[in-house]
Amino acid sequence: MNLRRDVYQAIADPTRRAILLLVSSHAMTAGAIASNFDTARPTVSKHLQILAECDLLEQEQNGREIFYHLNPRKMKEIAEFIEPFRKLWDDRFHKLEAVMKKYKSRK
């Protein structure tokens, strides 16, 4: 069964975020992308498929090869995504405070 894809789901996965990072500088083939991961090639292909279905990645045929690149328009749409990630750093700093307060009370 194919679940309905949504972008939140797409970027929730760390491997897919890493893929988006990779292709942010230049278009890459699936093989070149996969070579950056220890994961099995079909797993990477699945991730690419999900990102493409969400329009975060665009495919471009160049001769026999398909290159993947970021879709800037979709990136615009997910600008609101800054909030979860903004929160991630805030959470991190909150954690820092909590960790250090606990440490302080133990002293």
Binding site: L21, S24, I82, R86, W89, L96
Partner: protein, 155 residues
């Protein structure tokens, strides 16, 4: 009261700054940055190595539950003045962002509060902007209007 992380990234500059006030004494805020076990806890990454001293180095790594490395970063510490300052390089491996120089300034506000000012310098404007264009790259707490600016340029 929730304290907010502020990020400033001016147009056309190859730098950005991050600042945040902490409900912690200066000494503890500093300690959170130099003790490997503490860095691990709040950064949520494995600290493979962290020599908190001048000429020391560090290496962070995060793997997914299957054991695949999804984040690896390293750098060298240029200066470390206790409770005052850390100057270090930072490089995220397998990304286009290059090497960054990070200046951490630790500041005492009151006996129980402190502030961290981070100044990050990139090799080029393009590299900084590339990082900023990815809202999720670092999870930095960026001003939303700044993101809007960048996004507008993408159109």
């Amino acid at each position: 009261m929730q304290r907010k992380t502020k990020v400033n990234a001016e147009d056309g500059k190859q730098e950005l700054s991050i600042s945040r006030e902490f409900d912690l004494p200066l000494e503890l805020l500093f300690k959170a940055h130099i003790e490997p076990t503490m860095v691990e806890q709040w950064m949520g990454t494995k600290v493979l190595n962290l020599e908190s001293r001048k000429h020391g180095g560090y290496q962070f790594e995060t793997a997914d539950p299957q054991g695949n490395v999804i984040f690896r970063a390293h750098g060298v510490i240029h200066e470390l003045s206790p409770n005052r300052k850390i100057v270090r390089t930072f490089e995220m491996e397998n990304t286009p962002f290059g090497v960054q120089i990070e200046f951490y300034d630790f500041e005492k506000l009151t006996e129980d509060t402190s502030r961290l000012n981070m100044h990050v310098i990139f090799e080029s404007v393009a590299q900084r902007d590339q990082l900023l264009k990815l809202p999720f790259a670092q999870g930095l707490n960026m001003a939303h209007d700044r993101i809007q600016d960048i996004v507008n340029k993408l159109r």
